[in-house]
């Protein structure tokens, strides 16, 4: 299947609730007093995280999303993944999506390493045969050995990261969406992780990567989107290099 993502005039807004507006009691007080008391509860800040985004990503594209904190990089990835729905415009997507946004979505610390591999893989949309085929590869990559039979809560942070990373990179999607994730674990693991990541990127149709690090983005991507306050602008490699200097 040829992977394809198209954004037509997409705007994503989301509400930011403060603790008062998340309270049913405060809403009831506000309604029953005609809004005199707890008028704060009604106040909900609307954030426009993505404004009129228009672009098309085709098979073979590796897109780097760059921008400051809060520029809308993560929102963009979640919208591409179908987690967030735009309030306006249309997202068209073709191909099987895998996300690496927060590592370890669906990890249950009470379950053993093996059980978590199955659980997380299923959440990523793999079937039993795929998982069985991946197990050996994951065992080798994580080097966790017998620890995989123990509950994940007994793992050190580094060990848990290895497992999460190994599972997340064991899928063979058409579209891969990655949020800033390099630079975890010790140096040896980082080198291994990088190699695994590069292999994965080569195997997917579309790769979208959000990062602060222009250096890494330049290395992996062939198209560059600059985000600023929710506005998307495509820039050239020269622009990125100019920013680097």
């Amino acid at each position: 299947m040829t992977a394809h993502i198209k954004f037509d005039d997409v705007t994503v807004q989301y509400p930011i609730y403060n603790s008062r507006s998340m309270s049913l009691r405060n809403h009831l007080v506000r309604i029953s007093t005609g809004g005199h008391i707890e008028s704060d509860a009604k106040h909900v800040q609307i954030v426009t995280a993505l404004k009129n985004a228009n672009f098309e990503i085709k098979e073979g594209d590796s897109v780097g999303l760059i921008g400051h904190n809060g520029a809308g990089k993560s929102t963009m990835l979640r919208t591409m993944a179908g987690v967030y729905t735009p309030v306006q415009g249309r997202v068209t997507r073709k191909g099987r999506v895998a996300t690496m946004l927060d590592l370890g979505a669906g990890m249950d610390p009470e379950l053993s390493g093996y059980e978590n591999i199955t659980r997380m893989s299923m959440l990523l949309g793999l079937n039993k045969n795929d998982i069985a085929a991946n197990i050996k590869d994951i065992e080798e990559f994580t080097e966790l050995g017998n620890f995989l039979q123990l509950p994940v809560r007994t793992y050190s942070a580094g060990m848990a990261t290895r497992l999460m990373f190994a599972v997340a990179t064991s899928t063979k999607p058409d579209i891969l969406l990655v949020d800033e994730m390099f630079g975890t674990g010790d140096a040896e693991f980082q080198a291994k992780a990088r190699e695994r990541m590069i292999n994965l990127i080569r195997s997917v149709g579309i790769f979208v990567f959000a990062s602060h690090s222009l250096e890494i983005v330049r290395q992996y991507c062939n198209r560059f989107f600059h985000l600023e306050h929710g506005a998307v602008r495509e820039i050239t490699r020269e622009d990125v290099e100019a920013k680097l200097d």
Binding site: M22, H27, V83, T99, E110, T118, R119, L123
Partner: protein, 240 residues
């Protein structure tokens, strides 16, 4: 997915669900003896009806109590993966059905010990249970959506549910009440759900109005919840 989750949990604690059976058995024995003595009712007929009531109440209140945080507790999954949201309440329901499968046999054991005959009528409990599960699903979904938006609903539910136990025919039959109160009792959805299963299990035919009540609940409540869900499903990812 839900299945794997349950299997994993099940494997982990062999005695886990067994504990529920044991604690329920102790509760039923204790309450059955004391209450039948206090109310001066025939133990042989009272203890089975108490067992069904308690076991079903555990199922219902367990579902509702956990449904409040069904989306918020899965926030990590919801915010990262594009899965149908109804998976989460379905999984919750399935887990409680499995728990129920561990406690409901107590009814048959109790009936056997006390020499209460079981009639073929008891098979009607199966389609009735399907109806109860469907009703439970929309309730869990509704409470889950509201719980994701209003975080203090969790405390409200935690406060109301133990109280509801006394307004629900758990430890008694509604027909032991004066006629006017009986009518009110039929307005309690939890009571209707318990009674529609209790009637056939005790070898009695389900009254038509009870069946209608349960079906109406499913149509009206299920419809309203589905409408709410369709209107708000895109917002849940932002709420959790």
């Amino acid at each position: 997915m839900a299945w794997s989750d349950i299997r994993a949990r099940y494997k982990r604690s062999v005695l886990g669900p067994g504990w529920i059976t044991i604690s329920t058995a102790i509760g039923v024995t204790g309450l059955g003896f004391v209450w039948s003595y206090l109310f001066k009712i025939d133990r042989a007929s009272y203890v089975p009806l108490l067992t069904v009531g308690l076991v079903l109440w555990q199922f219902i209140s367990g579902c509702i109590n956990e449904a409040v945080s069904v989306f918020t507790r899965q926030a990590n999954i919801i915010r990262n993966l594009s899965l149908p949201l109804s998976v989460h309440p379905a999984q919750l329901l399935l887990r409680h059905i499995i728990n129920l499968a561990h406690t409901l046999p107590l009814f048959f054991i109790v009936s056997l010990i006390l020499g209460q005959p079981l009639s073929l009528e008891a098979f009607w409990a199966i389609p009735d249970f399907v109806l109860v599960v469907l009703n439970m699903f929309w309730m869990a979904l509704l409470v889950g959506i509201l719980g994701a938006r209003f975080r203090d609903l969790e405390y409200l539910i935690g406060m109301i549910m133990p109280m509801m136990m006394f307004f629900t025919p758990v430890m008694y039959r509604p027909n032991a009440l004066p006629p006017l109160m009986q009518k009110f009792m039929w307005l309690n959805p939890f009571g209707d759900m318990i009674e529609i299963i209790r009637y056939p299990l005790l070898g009695e035919t389900v009254p038509t109005h009870l069946l209608l009540m349960n079906v109406a609940m499913l149509v009206v409540g299920g419809g309203a919840t589905l409408a709410l869900f369709n209107a708000k499903r895109n917002r849940i990812a932002f709420w959790v």
